[in-house]
């Protein structure tokens, strides 16, 4: 039964996209539809509460792999739209005890705090540091946080298959120069699966317009069948200019664990939890 419903949904979406593509005057309708898809994609990753152990494998073009390990806890903020995210670093030893807390705000700048055990205090990070590398990985803060859908103009380019799954290919261009500067990307091209709206592939272009990074999801876990929520289990980000890459592996994903609000309170960031 579910398959039939999904199929009807697909037909509707494909029909709409063809219609919008065929009528030049309706370019904005195409963009509206694409924005809806990107919003659905963002919502598909918004699981009420989940935690996991992440292994980050940093691989240079030549040289040995470096491994970072952390525990991540995520919970939707009261209101159910924005995510709060806590990352506690376990290894290697020099970043052990470093905690990062992100309170996302879909309509504005996120709040980001970091606790550095050597300084013994909580420090607020700049709101516009979304282009900064996330702890030395190939992912930036933009890449690891929920996309701010309304900051971009989205255009449905085409449909194509990725690893046997039909995907909408959507180009997202920042509406303002500031968003581009803050995120470090002039545009992104995203492959969003038609069946579950999960973004499974992306190409990211730097501010000079060159293709700088490529992201690919290798494995997914269905977190909430009823609500259609999905989590990534394995995702690779490749820096196409330097040859460096980072593989994120999510282990021990738990969606049944109770994550209290206090876990995400900034005044608890320096406390043992």
């Amino acid at each position: 039964m579910k398959r039939i419903i999904v199929t009807f949904k697909h037909i509707g979406l494909v029909f709409s996209s063809l219609l919008f593509a065929a009528i030049p005057a309706a370019v904005s309708a195409n963009q509206f539809f694409a924005e809806e898809l990107v919003q659905k994609s963002a919502d598909a990753g918004k699981v009420a509460a989940w935690s996991a152990r992440i292994v980050m494998r940093l691989t240079p073009k030549s040289g040995s792999e470096r491994v970072r390990e952390s525990v991540i806890s995520n919970k939707l903020q009261p209101g159910g739209t924005d995510v709060q995210r806590l990352v506690r670093f376990i290894a290697p030893a020099d970043i052990h005890g470093t905690n990062i807390l992100i309170h996302e705000h879909g309509g504005g700048d996120d709040d980001i705090w970091i606790y550095l055990p050597s300084m013994k205090k909580v420090r607020r990070l700049l709101a516009n540091n979304r282009k900064d590398s996330f702890m030395g990985t190939d992912f930036t803060y933009t890449d690891i946080t929920t996309p701010k859908v309304r900051e971009y103009v989205h255009t449905l380019l085409r449909q194509e298959e990725v690893n046997g799954s039909s995907c909408y290919v959507i180009e997202s261009v920042p509406k303002t120069e500031k968003t581009g500067r803050d995120t470090g990307y002039a545009k992104t091209v995203n492959w969003i699966r038609a069946d579950n709206y999960v973004r499974v592939k992306a190409e990211l272009y730097d501010l000079s317009g060159g293709l700088s990074k490529a992201m690919q999801v290798f494995s997914l876990k269905e977190a909430d069948q009823q609500k259609g929520k999905w989590l990534m289990e394995k995702v690779l980000m490749q820096n196409l200019q330097s040859g460096h890459s980072t593989l994120l592996e999510f282990h021990d994903i738990r969606t049944d664990k109770e994550l209290g609000e206090r876990l995400f309170a900034p005044n608890r960031l320096d406390k043992e939890q």
């Binding site: 940093l58 240079p60 040995s64 470096r66 491994v67 376990i90 290894a91 290697p92 030893a93 020099d94 052990h96 005890g97 309170h103 705000h105 700048d109 709040d111 705090w113 055990p117 050597s118 300084m119 013994k120 205090k121 909580v122 420090r123 607020r124 990070l125 700049l126 709101a127 516009n128 540091n129 282009k131 900064d132 590398s133 702890m135 030395g136 990985t137 190939d138 803050d182 470090g184 460096h244 021990d252 609000e261 206090r262 995400f264 309170a265 900034p266 005044n267 608890r268 960031l269 406390k271 043992e272």
Partner: protein, 423 residues
């Protein structure tokens, strides 16, 4: 600060155990012990004793361990060993128990307490001491804990109230050569009677858009002063003080703004008050911004105004030496001091190479400190650290008085852990 042999043995045993033990999964445990640390060797062209004795070298080691229990209680331990040629230094920097009871978080034992949101220059950071004789790559490694307890009550997710009590007092350690030539002192006051208990309270707001706090502390100056006492002659003594302070941090788009201010009032009046440090108002206001991909720029303006100031250079004879010594220890050469700090930081190769150039400049006496630092991660375990300190200025200025602290420093560090045992 010194620790007897059993303490050193404990540290050594822990280092060996961590080294040998593999990381285990934390899932499903009731009790767990987790530890990290490092061993290192360093060489430096000078030391922090202000004695012009030349280069030092030696091994260092540090261990941080936490023992968790199912009852939301945990024990934390931070110990270190510094073995330079000026003599070994072993210390238990922190050893405390902490846990939650509803909205209350309690921590009791030896602990480092750091207040203030400004960068490195914190007027409200008056609670726990430092050992200024220690030569380390990171200035924060000079900190060591005070014995006491603090409780933080989370009023809401953003607001919290912290109260602390320190029944005994531990003074900062300053190099004896920081004192003017010709001055010798007897040992300082103990400050350990119940009436000497220190306490403080802080209301903190850390939440959307703006973080701030207001704080009050009543205790003793962690920095000692040269004091003439009828019973003991010239001693290093720590005077009672009250501090009222506030700080804030906000992120305004591309800019980060931080500020902090404190009024420090020395309580006890001594005979000949012109010889001693005076109450003061200190403030810091700074901005930071990331330029390009990762270049972080931070600029802070510093201001300090001394109350009832007497110029120590106008005091003749041996009493003048005492006044000059206190002015150097407490940085009180001028009634009004304005300064600026600058820090430029960047990282390369996915945080493998981190470098920072920082400095302080005081306008009134044109004294300054320039400090380049670099850390290169050879692997996940090994890293090389380089540091240089250049202090300059006239002798009768704070940073000029620390000229002998100018040095170059190199360290090769091996980090171990995290190691886990669980049951």
């Amino acid at each position: 600060m010194s620790m007897k042999m059993p303490g050193k043995m404990m540290l050594l045993v822990l280092v060996l155990l961590i080294w040998l033990h593999p990381v285990a999964s934390p899932a499903g445990e009731d009790y767990a012990l987790e530890a990290t640390g490092h061993i290192a060797g360093f060489v430096a062209s000078g030391n922090r004793m202000l004695d012009n004795e030349g280069g030092v070298a030696g091994p260092t080691a540090a261990v941080q361990a936490r023992f968790r229990t199912p009852a939301e209680l945990s024990l934390y331990f931070d110990g270190r060993y510094l073995g330079d040629s000026s003599g070994p230094e072993t210390g238990l920097r922190e050893a405390y128990i902490d846990g939650d009871a509803g909205k209350l978080h309690v921590r009791a034992g030896r602990q480092i307490i750091v207040w203030g949101r400004a960068d490195r220059f914190n007027p409200t950071d008056v609670i726990t001491p430092r050992n200024y004789e220690i030569l380390a790559f990171d200035d924060d490694d000079q900190r060591f804990g005070a014995d006491g307890a603090q409780a933080a009550y989370a009023v809401t997710e953003a607001y919290s109230i912290t109260a602390l009590v320190l029944p005994s007092f531990r003074s900062s350690r300053i190099p004896s050569d920081a004192l003017p030539a010709g001055i010798s002192v007897n040992s300082g006051s103990g400050r350990s009677s119940p009436s000497d208990a220190q306490w403080g309270i802080k209301l903190d707001r850390t939440g959307e858009t703006l973080d701030w706090s207001v704080s009050y502390f009543k205790g003793f100056s962690t920095l000692p002063e040269l004091a003439l006492r009828n019973d003991a002659g010239l001693v290093l003594d720590n005077r009672g003080l009250r501090m009222i302070g506030a700080d804030f941090a906000a992120s305004l788009g591309a800019w980060g703004v931080r500020g902090e201010a404190a009024y420090v009032d020395f309580e006890e009046q001594r005979a000949l008050p012109e010889l001693y440090p005076h109450s003061y108002l200190s403030a810091v206001l700074g901005v930071e911004r990331v330029l390009g991909q990762s270049l972080a720029l931070n600029v802070q303006w510093l201001h300090r105004r001394i109350q009832d100031f007497t110029d120590p250079r106008t005091i003749p004879g041996p009493l003048g030496l005492i006044a000059m010594g206190n002015a150097l220890i407490h940085d009180q050469f001028d009634k009004k001091q304005e300064g600026v700090t600058l820090s430029i930081r960047d990282t390369w190769f996915h945080d493998t190479l981190q470098a920072e150039l920082s400095g302080i400049y005081f306008f009134s006496r044109r004294d300054y400190l320039v400090k380049p630092q670099m850390r290169y991660a050879l692997s996940d375990r090994w890293s090389a650290l380089l540091l240089a300190d250049l202090y300059q200025g006239p002798e009768d200025s704070f940073l000029g008085g620390l000229k002998k602290n100018s040095l170059a420093y190199a360290e090769l560090r091996y980090q171990f852990g995290p190691a886990r045992w669980s049951k």
